[in-house]
Symmetry: C2
Subunit: 187 residues, 2 copies
Amino acid sequence: MSDAPSARGPSVRKIPDGDTHERLVCAECGYVQYDNPKIVVGAVCAHEDRLLLCRRAINPRKGYWVFPAGYLELNEAVEAGALREVREEAGIEVALDGLLAVYTIPRISQVQIIYRARLSDPHLAPGPETLEARLFRWDEVPWEELAFPTVHWALRHHREVADLAHFAPRANPPGETADYIKKTASP
Amino acid sequence: MSDAPSARGPSVRKIPDGDTHERLVCAECGYVQYDNPKIVVGAVCAHEDRLLLCRRAINPRKGYWVFPAGYLELNEAVEAGALREVREEAGIEVALDGLLAVYTIPRISQVQIIYRARLSDPHLAPGPETLEARLFRWDEVPWEELAFPTVHWALRHHREVADLAHFAPRANPPGETADYIKKTASP
């Protein structure tokens, strides 16, 4: 064991034998640390002709509106994660009825897996990460106060498939990487 | 700074304030390490009525057959990752023409995002992780020598949608979590 604490753990940046990318490697034991993209799961939830949005109580983008979404947990199925996020943020149970979209935001190594869902009961009970949860008709959506580009994408994609029983899920719009934060007016 | 090297880094298992799950936390600085599920991207690739399979040159399941797939890299879009894996393992360029399936294997915290793809040129050039790459007609597929349950699922799901221009992607078959390795005959 080395006496230099700084040498412990994966701290040397190199391309391991047989690999194609740089990784953090432990100089002592050769352990390779693989960092991986993160998965966000969520759902655009409709009740009749209204869409569920939650106003964020936390940063980033506190005070702005999103559909329920968050990081998939270890040992959790993607569908179960989406249902959990809806439950945690809006306090409701929904039924998933299709995979709406798979988006990638390469700059932050994030993949978003977004389902289409339906509410049977419109009684909302926001959790601690949500200032307010509301159902909006299309022409009431606070477009200038949406938190992230992917919220714009997902709402538009939901509208395209709202009346379809079966549909191919959407991906990033052409040319869009979401590698920016859209400038929006303050709420 | 503590003199006890063992106390450095995220080494204490606890539920951080405001969180719902146990994480590894640094006792010194409070840093919280979030471990996340990993994303595998891949593609079931067809050339006319034949499907591409690669025989694995690496463990796990060395010598068994898979469709091209592997871990998504940091800063990589999911579609780009699937194309890269096909290129690395079979030495070919394909066109993705639909999202075939999103599977979760909760036991190993893995999400598989699998596309449907077409080869224009059937000349295969296997890479270092592949012993052999071949195109199989349906009745030639080495069912007893497939590497993982998700390979079975994806081939069957591909067959269901092979003639459809637009289709909803598949998920785990009912009751299936892939939390086992199917017993298969030796090759």
